[in-house]
Amino acid sequence: MKNRPDYVAHACLLLGVVLFALPVWLVFAGSTQDSNAIERGEISLMPHLGGLGIYPDVLLHGSMGSAPVWHMLMVSFGMAMAIAVGKIVISVLSAYAVVFFRFPFRRTAFWVIFITLMLPPEVRIIPTYAVMSQMHLINTFPGMTVPLIASATATLLFRQVFAAVPDELVEAARMDGAGPLRFLWDILLPVSAANIAALFVILFVYGWNQYLWPLLVATTPGLDTIVIGIVKMIGVETQTQWNAVMATAVLALLPPVVVVVAMQRWFIAGLTEGDK
């Protein structure tokens, strides 16, 4: 259409890119600088390559009494995966039941699930903690993840996706003699793969970014997530080792960003189509 590059458009987009990247670059650059200099307000945008040693340092040894960062990364990863996979499995199953079957109290079941949308976590923390301890789930990995697995949003999404599956497809499957579970596995799941992938990205990010709940439920250093680890490094009444905090922040940012970027095609498609 036009041969001349659209300079204005490029300028706008670049501005947006910089707006997003600058704070992260700053934290990266800061992570390689002297902690005391940062505290004195002398942070700069130029990384000091000599300071990169902080990364293996925090990865292997942590910072000032924290668990090593690689371990916290593993915990975060495990938690994000468990929540993402758990939520998807549970939501797919319940949405499937609600859409393709008629059973007693179907509507009630649906509304019970739906109502969880309306209960912000702040409401429930103390009572939920009590439930957890009665079930001996304090200080356990399931305790950190299971309560976060129930999800109305995911169920609603799959309900919509499944509802949009044409009746003819179900008819055809039945003609071929496929039972309900075969149908779910062989036809429904492949058809909704993009939505599942998109949801996975969203839930992985959600799980990775949890803060308040794991802090309350997990009390052993062995169960520290990376987000909690950063907070622990910012000292109370003591010297904060800023470069270590910043290096850990960079490491904490990376995995969810990588997941989003690597899966962006499905993420975007699933996200926006699921809405239609």
Partner: protein, 448 residues
């Protein structure tokens, strides 16, 4: 080394978390496990871990496992939630402003005197520095919370800035009029970016200020005599001080730089001429300040008092928590651990490593004896400030429920005044009115 203790600790904790249903006394041989929830990070956590490791090595009956639970409010929240769930830790480190709430916690806690009586482990109040013990004690002198990490507020100043401003760096101002004059000189000569700042505004400019001048912060002897206490920070003396801060802010000699420890970097970065802050900043300053700094007593207003009283403490105490099925052996372990911490060499270790003040007289003496104050001149100033004069009912500390909330209210109203939205009297009247509502709600809840 430390890593291994942590791992061992997690195993120990996982073990205590599960079998609480069984009220069968632990038949498994081996030491009794004691869990300690704390809010210490970095250097402080390391030092605490060292103390626990030493305790565990010194005897075989008990193993204390320190567990970091987040900041002070997090520890308190988690402890309360855990108690409600029947799983309170054996020991919880609760910040000083939580004392009122803890003492109202009835059977959730075992006060130190009670613990001492039941277990036969001697924990004598007389060993502890009076102004430290007083804050966590009952009105009659019995100890309730076990003093642990305590600091007090002092005045830090930049000797460089003082020199530049033509002030004597070895003679810091002792009274508020002198402080105002010094701040003006610093501003005039442009000797520092900011003439004066304060961290912990409510703690230092209201709570400490009241104690120093022997004026009530709240009625009922600052709350020690009953739950019916009302705030009294709208008194003439308080309003005068707020007005002073407002005036200084207006003329540019004082800068309000935020709540809690947010202004700390200004001090460490050498940007402030005078900085009110915790005595615990010594470690930070020694490690990373690039300027000559000095430490001085908190200033007083000679128009209100001729000789200032002792300052009060900040920091936290250890509380012995109860839980269903908690055994005598467990309480005994808690008491033994408390006694261990009070041994002179351990108290001195904690004091010298962390910059907190010693909590026992013997710990202070030990530090004098081993030459710590010769090597670190001025490090005993906070202790001297805590020890001077005699403790009155207004310099003992505060015993108010929901004090963290009250601190917030005071700071909010002060901030509004600093932004020019209200005058000093209105600000303090509002603070009192709002705080009293909180105090009444606490009173109702405790009586419930």
């Amino acid at each position: 080394m430390k890593r291994r203790t942590l791992l061992a600790g997690s195993a120990a904790l996982a073990a205590t978390a599960t079998p609480l249903v069984a009220s069968i006394p632990a038949e498994a041989a081996g030491p009794t496990k004691i869990v300690l929830w704390h809010a210490m990070t970095a250097l402080l956590a390391d030092s605490l871990n060292t103390l626990c490791t030493r305790f565990n090595a010194a005897q075989t009956a008990y193993v204390v496992t320190p567990v970091y639970k987040g900041g002070y409010p997090d520890v308190m929240t988690a402890t309360i939630a855990a108690f409600r769930a029947g799983q309170a830790p054996h020991i919880a480190q609760i910040f000083e402003v939580g004392t009122g709430s803890m003492l109202a916690a009835g059977k959730a806690i075992k006060e130190v005197w009670q613990l001492s009586k039941e277990t036969g482990v001697k924990l004598d109040p007389k060993n502890y520095i009076p102004s430290v013990r007083g804050y966590y004690g009952l009105a009659d002198g019995r100890m309730a919370g076990m003093p642990f990490n305590s600091s007090t507020a002092v005045m830090w100043y930049s000797k460089d800035a003082f020199e530049k401003a033509g002030l004597d760096p070895e003679k810091p101002p002792a009274t508020w009029p002198e402080v105002v004059a010094a701040a003006r000189a610093i501003k005039e000569k442009n000797a520092a970016d900011i003439p004066m700042i304060t961290s912990w505004p409510s703690w230092i400019q209201f709570e400490q200020y009241s104690a120093l001048h022997n004026i009530p912060f709240a009625s009922e002897a600052d709350g020690f005599d009953g739950l019916g206490a009302k705030l009294e920070v709208n008194s003439k003396a308080h309003v005068k001080h707020v007005q002073r801060l407002l005036d200084m802010s207006k003329e540019g000699t004082f800068k309000y730089a935020g709540r809690d420890n947010i202004p700390d970097p200004l001090l460490v970065g050498g940007k402030a001429g005078i900085a009110f802050n915790s005595s615990g900043m010594r470690g930070d300053l020694t490690k990373s300040a690039k300027f000559k700094w000095g430490e001085a007593y908190l200033p007083y207003d000679p128009a209100i008092i001729k000789t200032p009283l002792n300052s009060i403490i900040g920091g936290a105490a250890l509380w012995s928590m109860t839980a269903p099925h908690r055994t005598e052996a467990e309480y005994k372990g808690v008491a033994e651990f408390f006694a261990f911490l009070a041994q002179p060499q351990n108290d001195a270790f904690w004091h010298q490593k962390t910059g907190y003040v010693p909590v026992t007289l013997a710990g202070f003496a030990e530090s004098q004896k081993d030459g710590f104050y010769k090597a670190n001149p001025g490090a005993d100033l906070p202790v001297k400030q805590l020890e001077r004069g005699h403790v009155t009912k207004y310099s003992r500390g505060l015993r108010l429920g929901r004090l963290p909330e009250i601190r917030n209210i005071i700071e909010e109203e002060l901030e509004k005044a600093l932004q020019g939205q209200q005058n000093a009297q209105t600000a303090m009247d509002n603070a009192v009115e709002r705080s009293n509502k909180v105090l009444r709600a606490f009173q109702r809840a405790v009586k419930a």
